[in-house]
């Protein structure tokens, strides 16, 4: 595995405001990465910095070991050999699908261009639409053309800025999956920016969660969900609630309702008050359990229900249960906590 992209301690600013601070990460060849975060967290600025539209105040960006951006060096975007896909697809409205895809193929023989365009059209399954204009295509088709256009010149790295956020839910999931398959097939290294956790999880091998110009955690989707590094990540990725707890020994953590076993990695935490993360799928109904809870809200999600439960002490929990287990609001039930990964944060 070779390193394609190295982003090292980059800081960017707009006017006085630093919108990206000391962001670092690396991408291996063929990796599909994602920067995930709420709007205004600086994720798009990082992408623009990699593309060469945003100068760096500090830090360095290397592509295949060659410095492309630093406070002293700034290679023009057109010299970087990157592909980019935009939220509004940015297809050239006056050119046909075919010509759009060929736009990045300069100085090549006509036959080569024809082959490359044909190959791309085949990849995105739009062979029949080669002569159409962008406005004659559906939103999903337009985004597929944009992807083909970005991939046609064989970019060293593909950048995608909220590529699926203009699409409806069903389409974005399908297109996310398709895009992932296509990029894996072509061995493309890609970094995508999104505010949508589902997009990030569908698409990427590795996700960086960003907040206020920083990367809070750079990890696999699985780890982000089950072992979030900060409270923000825990809240932003997936549902969940916190229970006040106390770490009683090196493998025990005690809440008002139960004591849980698990590994406490930091011995310093022993004896401290913490907040324990409870995911909705950690909570199961168990008539034999001694923990009572009352259902205060119920949201139907098709294959399952998301219940909001009130505990005796007034704390709330979320619980995800198959929808054939139907309980009414106001019903008293008994629950058990099955926590696989102990995630806690120091109480502040």
């Amino acid at each position: 595995m070779t390193t394609v992209l190295t982003v090292q301690d980059i800081t960017c600013h707009y006017g006085e405001e630093k919108v990206v601070r000391d962001v670092s990460f690396e991408l291996e060849s063929g990796a599909l990465a994602c920067l995930l975060g709420p709007s205004g967290c600086g994720k798009t600025t990082v992408l623009r910095a990699i593309a060469g539209f945003q100068p760096l105040l500090f830090g360095k960006i290397e592509l295949h070991g060659r410095c492309i951006s630093s406070p002293a060096v700034m290679i023009a975007p057109e010299k970087r050999n990157l592909g980019m896909v935009f939220q509004d697809n940015a297809l050239f409205p006056h050119l046909t699908v075919e010509k759009n895809i060929a736009a990045g193929l300069h100085a090549r023989k006509p036959s080569e261009i024809r082959d490359a365009v044909g190959r791309m059209l085949h990849y995105v399954r739009l062979e029949r639409y080669s002569g159409r204009y962008p406005h004659e295509l559906s939103a999903g088709q337009q985004q597929r053309v944009a992807l083909a256009r970005a991939l046609a010149p064989n970019p060293r790295l593909l950048l995608m800025d909220e590529p699926f956020s203009n699409l409806d839910v069903e389409l974005r999931e399908r297109l996310g999956q398709e895009t992932r398959d296509l990029l894996k097939e072509t061995g493309t290294t890609c970094i995508m920016v999104t505010h949508d956790q589902q997009d990030a999880f569908t698409f990427s091998d590795v996700v960086g969660v960003m907040r206020d110009g920083n990367i809070c955690q750079w990890d696999t989707p699985y780890n982000l969900y089950h072992e979030p590094a900060t409270e923000f990540v825990a809240n932003f990725v997936g549902d969940g609630t916190f229970l006040d707890a106390e770490i009683t020994s090196s493998d025990r953590i005690k809440t008002d309702i139960a004591t849980h076993r698990g590994t406490i990695r930091n011995p310093e935490d022993i004896g401290k008050s913490v907040k324990l993360l409870i995911r909705p799928d950690d909570v199961v109904i168990d008539g034999d359990s001694e923990i009572p809870a009352r259902i205060v809200r119920r949201t139907f999600r098709g294959e399952n229900y998301l219940y909001t439960l009130a505990l005796a002490g007034g704390q709330t929990l979320l619980s995800l249960m198959p929808s054939h287990q139907n309980h009414e609001v106001g019903e008293d039930i008994r629950i058990r906590l099955e926590i696989e990964h102990l995630v806690y944060f120091r109480a502040t």
């Binding site: 593309a51 975007p77 300069h106 406005h135």
Partner: protein, 556 residues
């Protein structure tokens, strides 16, 4: 670590440099006037203030207030009627009300004078009907007066207000009005309480623009012997041969203009907040009944009748009647001069505007934006003032050049720049840059910035990006800019009059000359050309131009 010397901003610097040069050139005439007026060869400030200046200022003030009131009343009334009510011919009138735009004020002044003076057909008919013989037998209003000037200028300048007010009334959510009516206010009270106040910033912009034209005018006021600032400037410069004095009068004129710019600017700032943010709700017009509906038609028909139809009939009549005397080789050369200068300027302005707009896109900083604003300021500077600044600054450059060539090479270059059509071209470019920048800017703003990023990441440098992916998309706006600037150049009189080289006549100066010689009929053909050209932007404004725009609108 590999260290690469890259000059990313190199290409971009060429863009910024061009904008900076354009800004300097645009600002030069006004700066020259500033310098000259405070350090003239012969100080006539005291003399000016003692004698003519109060008269110039007073007359200009009366004219500005009068025309302001006229365009406000006409523009707002007609705009409100056509946007709020349904009456016979409403749809046709909505377009027809723009037509007086096509007439330069001096043309309409010459035509009405011809029509209404003692020897004209109207008074002739009255004398015939009532058996009067002499002027003292009856009373007839004198058209060549302050009142006449206000009326005639109002008649051709109100479309500025009409356009702005109409757009504003259309943009206003009809729910404002509905809410007002539900609270128990009548139509008229609703208009005063909500529609007009909300439209006020837009109306202020329209009035400010119309008044800039009023201050700019020289053909009408000179013909009517109204001593305004521009006539004074003309007099001091050409008859007294005192350029310093002309510069000092220019300063006073610029003060007027500065106030108008202030009004316009604050209008534009407020208009942004007043714009309805929500989705567009189509307005349902109220059908007028009985007498009201014909009253509304008549009210809207009046400005069209006197601002377009009557003068047009006279113009066409005279053009046909005097065709043989008018269509001469000399006339054709004037027309060729007009076409040449106007076309050159239209193309220069548009190319410059594309460079300036694109630089603003490449560099999101404040500097290109500020420079672009500076370049756009030229529209406010009256042609006569601009002419003073240009003559002085170009004269200085010419003298330096001439001295240099005489010293080095022993020959004289003479008045290379100030004595040629170059000075006219420069004046027009400075004056009309704002139009081209406005049009090109608005086309650029419709192109998503991710188009730029897409093109750059696909390997195209800034210039190629512009050529391949922007020009095809902004073609419509650029073409509109060319046309509108072209027409404005064709009409332009004050700067042309003061700057034209010896023996260089355009259609506009030819008309002016014919009017001075009391041979206005012979200028009808030239005026007809100008008015017909003037119809082009009117048609462009009235319907959404270029089908390409719809095609290129992003569907996602």
């Amino acid at each position: 670590m590999e260290r690469i010397r890259v000059r990313l901003h190199y290409g971009a610097d060429v863009w910024q440099l061009s904008v900076a040069v354009a800004a300097v050139v645009a600002a030069l005439p006004v700066i020259t006037i500033l310098g000259l007026s405070f350090s003239p060869a012969e100080n006539i400030w005291p003399h000016l203030i003692e004698t003519a200046l109060p008269r110039y200022v007073g007359n200009t003030l009366i004219l500005v207030v009068g025309v302001g009131a006229a365009v406000f009343l006409t523009g707002v009334t007609t705009a409100y009627l056509v946007t709020t009510f349904e009456f016979p011919l409403r749809r046709q009138l909505e377009f027809l009300l723009l037509l007086p735009f096509a007439f330069p004020s001096y043309v309409i002044a010459y035509l009405y004078t011809d029509l209404l003076e003692f020897s004209g057909p109207v008074q002739g008919l009255l004398r015939h009907l009532f058996g009067w013989e002499l002027a003292r037998d009856y009373w007839f209003p004198e058209i060549r007066s302050m009142g006449g000037a206000i009326l005639l200028m109002g008649l051709v300048l109100y479309p500025y207000v009409y356009l702005m007010a109409r757009a504003s009334f259309l943009e206003q959510s009809p729910h404002y009005r509905d809410a007002c009516r539900l609270m128990g206010r009548s139509h008229f009270r609703t208009f005063l309480f909500v529609s007009l106040p909300v439209a006020r910033p837009a109306v202020a912009i329209g009035v400010a623009l119309a008044l800039m034209e009023t201050v700019n005018d020289i053909g009408t006021v000179e013909f009517f012997s109204i001593q305004t600032l521009s006539v004074g400037l003309f007099d001091v410069w050409l008859n007294m041969n005192n350029l310093g004095g002309a510069a000092q009068i220019s300063m006073v004129t610029l003060t007027f203009i500065l106030i108008l710019i202030g009004v316009e600017y604050s209008g534009r700032r407020k208009a942004r907040f007043y714009q309805s943010s929500g989705r567009f709700i189509p307005t349902e017009r109220v059908a007028l009944a009985g007498g009201f509906k014909w009253g509304a038609s008549l009210l809207c028909l009046l400005p069209v009748l006197f601002g377009f139809l009557v003068p047009m009939v006279v113009l066409v009549g005279n053009s046909v009647a005097y065709f043989d005397q008018s269509w001469t080789p000399a006339f054709r050369s004037y027309a060729a001069n007009s076409l040449f200068v106007s076309l050159t300027v239209a193309i220069c302005c548009t190319v410059l505007a594309v460079v300036i707009s694109y630089t603003k896109r490449l560099h999101r900083g404040n500097v290109p934006l500020a420079l672009s604003r500076l370049v756009s300021m030229g529209y406010a500077v009256p042609g006569s003032v601009l002419a003073v600044g240009i003559v002085v600054s170009l004269g200085w450059i010419d003298n330096s050049l001439d001295g240099f060539f005489r010293d080095r090479f022993g020959f004289s270059t003479g008045l290379l720049l100030s004595g040629s059509a170059f000075s006219i071209i420069l004046a027009y470019v400075i004056r009309f840059m704002a139009i081209s920048i406005g049009n090109v800017d608005s086309s650029f703003s419709k192109v998503s910035t991710s188009i730029d990023m897409a093109s750059r990441t696909l390997g195209y440098a800034p210039f190629k990006t512009l050529r391949l992916y922007h020009l095809p998309l902004i073609k419509g706006g650029a073409l509109t800019a060319v046309l509108i600037v072209f027409v404005d150049c064709m009409k332009e009189l004050p700067a042309t009059l003061l700057l034209r080289p010896f023996n260089f006549e355009t259609l506009a100066t030819h008309i002016y000359q014919a009017a001075s010689d009391e041979q206005i009929e012979r200028a009808a053909l030239g005026a007809l050309f100008i008015v017909l050209a003037g119809l082009i932007p009117v048609i462009l404004i009235s319907r959404t131009i270029s089908s390409s725009r719809q095609l290129f609108q992003r569907s996602g």
